[in-house]
Amino acid sequence: DKDDQDKQEYIVYMGALPARVDYMPMSHHTSILQDVTGESSIEDRLVRNYKRSFNGFAARLTKSEREILASMDEVVSVFPNKKLKLQ
């Protein structure tokens, strides 16, 4: 329960989509999340995939998971899923 409370939603930005024809963004995102969380089912973790025009995903992560992700070679940045407002 404590772990659950510690989790926040983050955006994991991975830049442009790789040009490789065999690149499957969703499988890549799933495998990254599974590796980082150590969980085989990431249904409760994955919020959204970005896969059509650029690469990345939104996920519920702990602070330490965030840090691991931010240090990965295929990740540009990890930042909180905050709210913006209409102007």
């Binding site: 955006i11 991975m14 059509r52 930042f79 209409l86 102007q87």
Partner: protein, 626 residues
């Protein structure tokens, strides 16, 4: 909108040049609070099938219909109990911005008779695709939704995206969802137009700071709404959009301060919630020291309210008769109250007046300098944002606590100025369909109406307020020269900001790496249509800007450089450019020098390249901070 396009010279007349066939193939993506699909502004009547390039869908969810005008809809708002899953607009905002950019021409539109006219967007023949990311249930717009909207809009093949959304503070590019989305859009040839924000008039408040997006400040038009207050002893004029007609009848006046038995003088004066005593305000006009709480007076049975505000350059809608007065006028009312035994006043229905002082910049929008990249000027451009009449959603009230429902309403903000520039960009693109986002942005910036620091009390920040000036849609079609910057130029720009090779490869999606020269390159040398440098306060300076222009005017043209309005010493080399063919490029340097501005001050000049027909104007801004 019913006035702003006429004000900018884009009139509804056969003499206004339109390339309707290409305009009809233009798709504006609107990332906002959804849309009211039943609005006449978005009717598909007279439209053929969507353009062939269109890859989007209409997944509007519950109670949503699409047509050949409104060709796409998606929503990204989280599932929340009590809030329908739909691209429908429950805030009114998305309908307003969409119609400003590309709404159909709809005759006899007004807000209860106010601002009457033909409402139309900048490109009425264009198509609209809606990406809903904001909802009352969320109380804002989520980052994950905004990124998802960009992800889809780019792949759906929209031509221009208007996004009137932002944060309170600027963030590094790689943590700013709008900058991220805009970068990938720019790489695919899509221009992103973004509102500067409403955190002004203080400096360093602009949150939209990336050079690959077009950042818009706000101004007024020549139409203003006033709400007169008639006192027992004369008249004074206030602001607001008051559609309620009390037939000129005078009602007793009561001051919030003397209408409370439960609060201290200050809170009661502000008409703070829980302070007003119903028995003392019922049937009266209540004076409140703040524009925040007239709803409280209404709830306690007041017939109307007169409120004090330090900001009366915009008129807002209230749910009952309200007039907003500046300090001096408000004090006049208080003096009158104190001088007579039975003070009375009437709050009249609003009227529209012709505002000769237009355009002047608004007080409320966010100003430069750019806190992340000091040498990139933001905002870029100014457009009408105050008191704009455009489509609204009857699923939302026109003001807080309002029980009315309207199809057209008055709204104010950089949210409103942003779609004006998107509309102009689409208008321009209909004449130059192959132009890149930077060419379109450059054309709009270098042809803008000049503004200056002396025309408005809120202009003292000069270019940090209005950027290159006020958008001029007609002249923008023929800019003569443009400053181009493509994806590789922006990657080189990021090299100069010391982005790592790994991140640059990921962001660009190719094997981009920085040369030694690029790593040493200065952000001020990005081929941007404005030139800005931060220098040390009160110390002599000499800064060099390197630029390249592309000829889009006529072959065999000779452009001469001229620098005007200068408190700077400026040298342009070469000062004459001979361009033999279209799309030929020529480079030049601009050296600005001087004694150095005082801390927190700027000095500026305008570089104008002219062949006698075109006038290609760029602001040169040098400023110092502490």
């Amino acid at each position: 909108t019913t006035t702003s396009w006429n004000f900018m010279g884009l009139k509804e007349s056969k003499r206004t040049k339109r390339n309707t066939i290409i305009e009809s193939d233009t798709i504006i993506g609107v990332i906002d609070s959804g849309i009211y699909p039943e609005s006449d502004s978005f009717s598909g009547k007279g439209f053929g099938p969507p353009p062939k390039k269109w890859k989007g869908v209409c997944k509007g969810g519950k109670n949503f219909t699409w047509n050949n005008k409104l060709i796409g809809a998606r929503y990204y708002t989280p599932k929340l109990e009590g809030f329908p899953e739909s691209a429908r607009d429950y805030m009114g905002h998305g309908s307003h911005t969409a119609s400003t950019a590309a709404g159909n021409a709809v005759k006899h539109v007004s807000f209860y008779g106010l601002g009457n006219g033909t409402a139309r967007g900048g490109v009425p023949a264009a198509r609209i695709a809606v990406y809903k990311v904001c909802d009352p249930g969320v109380d804002g717009c989520t980052t994950d939704g905004i990124l998802a909207a960009f992800d889809d809009a780019i792949a759906d093949k929209v031509d221009i995206i208007t996004i009137s959304i932002g944060g309170d503070n600027s963030s590094p590019f790689e943590e700013d969802p709008i900058a991220i989305g805009a970068f990938h859009a720019m790489a695919k040839g899509i221009l992103i137009v973004n509102s500067a924000g409403n955190s002004g008039p203080e400096p360093s408040t602009v949150a939209s700071i990336a050079p690959w997006m077009f950042t818009v400040a706000a101004s007024n038009t020549n139409r203003a709404f006033v709400t007169k207050v008639v006192l027992g002893n004369g008249k004074t004029v206030g602001r607001s959009v008051n559609s309620f007609d009390l037939n000129g009848k005078k009602y007793p006046l009561v001051y919030g301060k003397s209408a409370s038995s439960s609060c201290g003088a200050a809170s009661a004066g502000f008409c703070s919630p829980g302070c007003l005593d119903s028995k003392r305000v019922k049937g009266k006009i209540v004076l409140c020291d703040s524009p925040q709480n007239p709803d409280e007076a209404q709830a306690m049975g007041a017939i109307a309210s007169i409120v004090r505000s330090h900001r009366t350059d915009v008129a807002s809608i209230f749910s009952f008769p309200v007039s907003v007065l500046l300090e001096d006028d408000y004090n006049t009312v208080l003096s009158y109250m104190n001088s007579t035994k039975n003070p009375k006043a009437a709050v009249l229905k609003s009227e529209t007046i012709f505002n000769q002082r237009a355009p002047v910049v608004a007080s409320y929008f966010s100003r430069g300098p750019n806190t992340i990249i000091p040498d990139i000027l933001k905002p870029d451009i100014t457009a009408p944002g105050s008191e704009i009449v455009a489509a609204y959603s009857p699923d939302a009230p026109p003001s807080i606590s309002d029980t009315r429902r309207v199809k057209y309403s008055v709204d104010t903000g950089t949210s409103m100025s942003c779609p004006h520039v998107a509309g102009v960009a689409a208008y321009l693109k209909s004449f130059h369909p192959r132009w890149s986002p930077s060419m379109i942005q450059s054309a709009i910036m270098t042809t803008a109406w000049p503004m200056n620091a002396s025309t408005s009390p809120f202009n003292e920040l000069a270019e940090f307020a209005y950027g290159a000036g006020h958008v001029d849609p007609i002249t923008a079609i023929h800019p003569g020269l443009v400053y181009e910057a493509n994806k590789s130029d922006h990657i080189a720009f990021l090299c100069g900001l010391n982005y790592t090779a790994k991140n640059l490869r990921l962001i660009s999606g190719d094997s981009s790496s920085c040369t030694k020269e690029q790593t040493k390159s200065l952000p001020r040398n990005l081929n941007y249509p404005s030139m800005t440098a931060q220098v040390s306060a009160a110390k002599p300076f000499k800064v060099i800007f390197r630029r390249t222009v592309t000829n889009v005017g006529r072959p065999n043209a000779t452009y001469k450089a001229k620098v005007v309005g200068s408190k700077l010493k400026v040298k342009v080399v070469p000062a004459v450019l001979s361009l033999k063919s279209l799309y030929e490029k020529k480079s030049f340097t601009v050296t600005a020098s001087g004694a150095g501005p005082k801390a927190e001050n700027l000095v500026s000049a305008q570089l104008i390249w002219s062949d006698g027909v075109h006038f290609v104007r760029s602001p040169i801004v040098v400023y110092a901070t502490n």
